[in-house]
Symmetry: C3
């Protein structure tokens, strides 16, 4: 971290990401600009007339960081970039972009996207690891295990025990579990562990509704998903009992969440109730409530913070936002990840923007006398990977 030094060659641990899509576009050719734009941000709907989602700090970051690995100058117009991407082909583009990201580990939440396998258009834990020349490890989504159990025809009275078993099996090789309570309900929940009787009653209702909707051939999109408050708490507490670090979606994401319900400060009663268990809690993303998250990490020993989605999405503003994350949280509790999904561009944008912006921030603090050079070097290594390696025991 001396003058001229940087995070350019630091091997990063991507502590939270998802499978990548390497298949054709909807029209079976390469991704159209509209598809690409929709996959890029969190909108998932076409922009209104006259507006492009790529006209954003995120779009500018994609053109800055992703054009060079495809042999184009940084800042290339998006249409030119997409033409070259189509020429290169999605799999080769993904390999180049993932390769340029410089990741040593990828911790992959497999709860969305497809799976690895012959003929699959998705690369999950193994495919990503291979393309990135990194080690891939799995993060298991707590709600997905419950939904798989419901699909299997479990009886309501057996739900609680069967879930614990299913989670043990699903996490045999996992390094963490993940909760999307923020999406499915929001954080205004009873913080306590539900009783076995409560779980059975709630499971009965959910399983019954699911079966009725399926038999009536209704769109089961909503009842198939776990949204019941009691069951969401049950799977979260089961995750705590499992002992692996629990990653929690907090802060912004797509429109399926209520922004006012995902402020991590709302989790404070749960954080306190969970403390005696001893399992670490990792707050993901956090924005725009990242200062609240930093306070929780500063006062609760078992709370950690992962920048997640935030660094990649805000592009040029990553340094300013990262600085806010650092205001209260100890550096030993902060972690990088990309939260990348579907587009390989998101892995590289997350990693490259983090290297650039966090490196610049640390150099400024060193130059201004706030940190020593040795401090800055240590903090870069801690936040870029050492904290995650220790927390998830991935070198063990």
């Amino acid at each position: 971290m001396r003058a001229g030094l940087s995070l350019a060659d630091l091997p990063l641990v991507d502590a939270h990401c998802h499978p990548v899509f390497v298949g054709p576009g909807e029209a079976r050719g390469s991704l159209s600009r509209a598809e690409f734009e929709r996959m890029l941000g969190e909108a998932d709907r076409p922009a209104p007339l006259g507006v492009s989602y790529a006209d954003s700090l995120l779009g500018a970051a994609v053109r800055r960081w992703c054009a060079p690995p495809l042999g184009l100058p940084a800042g290339t117009p998006l249409d030119t970039y997409l033409d070259r991407r189509a020429e290169v082909g999605p799999a080769e583009a993904a390999r180049r972009l993932l390769g340029a990201a410089g990741l040593s580990y990828l911790l992959v939440d497999t709860g969305i996207g497809g799976t690895d396998g012959p003929g699959s258009d998705w690369w999950s834990v193994r495919g990503l690891a291979s393309a990135a020349d990194a080690v891939g490890r799995e993060v298991v989504r707590l709600e997905s295990v419950a939904e798989g159990l419901a699909d299997s025809g479990v009886a309501a009275g057996d739900f609680a025990d069967a879930y614990v078993d299913a989670l043990a099996t699903a996490t045999q090789n996992a390094v963490a579990v993940k909760s999307i309570l923020g999406y499915r309900h929001g954080f205004d929940v009873d913080p306590r562990r539900p009783s076995r009787a409560e779980v059975t009653v709630a499971a009965r209702d959910w399983l019954l509704t699911r079966r009725r909707d399926a038999e009536a051939e209704l769109d089961v999109g909503s009842s198939a998903r776990l949204r019941d408050e009691v069951l969401l708490r049950f799977v979260l507490w089961s995750g705590l009992d499992r002992g692996l670090p629990v990653q929690l979606h907090t802060g912004f994401g797509d429109r399926e969440l209520r922004l006012t319900s995902v402020n991590p400060a709302l989790l404070q009663p749960f954080v306190e109730a969970a403390e005696p268990v001893g399992t670490p809690l990792v707050l993901l993303h956090c924005y725009p409530y990242h200062r609240e998250a930093g306070w929780l990490a500063a006062v609760y020993p078992h709370v950690y913070v992962d920048f997640g989605l935030t660094v990649g999405q805000v592009g040029a503003r990553a340094g300013a936002v990262l600085a806010e994350f650092c205001e209260l949280a100890p550096f030993g509790k902060l972690m990088f990840s990309t939260d990348a999904y579907r587009l390989p561009e998101r892995y590289l944008v997350g990693a490259a923007q983090f290297r650039h912006s966090f490196g610049r921030l640390l150099r400024e603090w060193w130059r201004d006398g706030d940190l020593t050079a040795r401090d800055a070097e240590r903090v870069a290594a801690m936040v870029g990977g050492d904290n995650a390696r220790r927390l998830y025991a991935i070198d063990g």
Copy 2:
């Protein structure tokens, strides 16, 4: 936007402002320092002993940007400035300040302040346009139309239909409507369109209370104003039906609002309920919840964000706050306005501070490689006017 280039000559669209006062002060002479200070910020009460509202970033911005058009150096002490302003006279001062703002369009919310006309101390749509050498267009305040209708003696059973007719008439030449739900109630409302029966019942109560208070010669300040939750929703939904963009006051303002109730994120249920109608929603001001507003604009196609009051009020901090607005929102959804009212200084401060601070921000992003020069030029034009021209169809 090359090095040395700037937004200095960009013709701006002021997408939200109000009438300007060009009359004498309370003592029939020029404005006293106390009056000027009270009109400047959002306090509307005298400051306590030893405190001046002009000792603020806003006060410093006034002295920086408004002294030169009156022939004084930037930063001139406020008393000297006010002496010169009195010499020049309020109308001539207004002409010089408005002229220096470089506005090409003014979209004027006529719901507060006086009207144009011979002998009037106010310049509204026509007066402002003439003084600024710009095109003036009207923004109609939804609540004012309802209050006008109540004054006209409408029957409760006719209220709903009569309101739709009155709004159609009032907006014949308007480019947008404006809601002050944030002031009158806050955003913790039922998001749904109220039924006709609910409107009739609510109208009966409101009209009755108004009449009683007026007959009893009570101060009708409160009952004369529309504060009923059902009717506020009704006029908002009627505004959506009208099809013109709906501007919503969100975020800070004067003390008549509860700050915790005007976080635009609280509007998320309404934003979703309104989406099928297809009418654009423009979130004004937003501060200190502008990051929340940026997220709404990023995930809901019909949501836009207008900086409004914020840029002018925070003076030297405008660049930092504008940067936060840009973190998630697509550039095609962000708009400049002054939200100026009463004091001509506020038009110029809003415009000059925006040119200075947003220009500087874009140059930094260009210099640091975050945006290309072409990007920066396009973004300046979009945010400074093109987005508003497209959204409000004011070139049509």
Copy 3:
């Protein structure tokens, strides 16, 4: 404030601090690193394995500002620093650190920590003043007076009158009172002054519970403390009646508070109810809700803002956070303090970081044309001490 000028020699008023501990560590020797770390931040628990609270912007600020007065270079590793601190001895270290802080007045909240006196390990108002070569004045904590009264065996029916008398006695030489409603309940309270009958009923319940718990030799930690909503409001309103400025804990602190309940914007109904009394309200700390606090100070004449704990805790980020405090609040309403407690390092970190960061911020605003040199000089003097001297009448 010309180029090269700074706040280095400005005599600061520390408008809110606490007693300092100069005794030995738990093992009767010098403070261990673990003890020092725990006293430094707000965690008050050991950090988890692999994490150090000193690896933070706060820890870096301590090593930057506190090493030189102990004869070590800025940025010295913490272990070396603690060795030197042990050599020097706690009392001499405290004298050097307090001396280097350059404080002219210390307003000491005596509600936590020990008292001055022969053999005491604490320096309170007199001890601090003597060590800092400054004037010390007392700030009386409203809840402590109530708890002292309860200890004295007051009857419930006499509680209200006796409290007013006790507060008058306790504040005879005080310059302010302090409320920790934020800690004891949060700001979702009825804003109104409780009736005498309500106070008597609430006092009866509280005194009874206290007595029972004491007789049963239960841990009276919780019932001994005043947590009753009615009584908390009563002591706050009694504080208003006393006429001295009322300091209110708002924003972050240790884990005893619920972060979502201490947003000062939640105090708006109380601020309005209190306005007719005319007593100034000082919002302490505020972070991460300091923009909300700035708005309150901008629109309510009787509201002031004190940076408190925030400046010291965020170290390198102090300038950025101070800039946010200044966005809306008039400079005549903003005040410096350290909120230092226990560790003498916290007085110096607060003062030195403020001088450094606020000075730099003002120089930037001057260099960029936002403020004149004269403005910057005045603002530094106002915020660093003049506002507090006027508000607390401490030169009177």
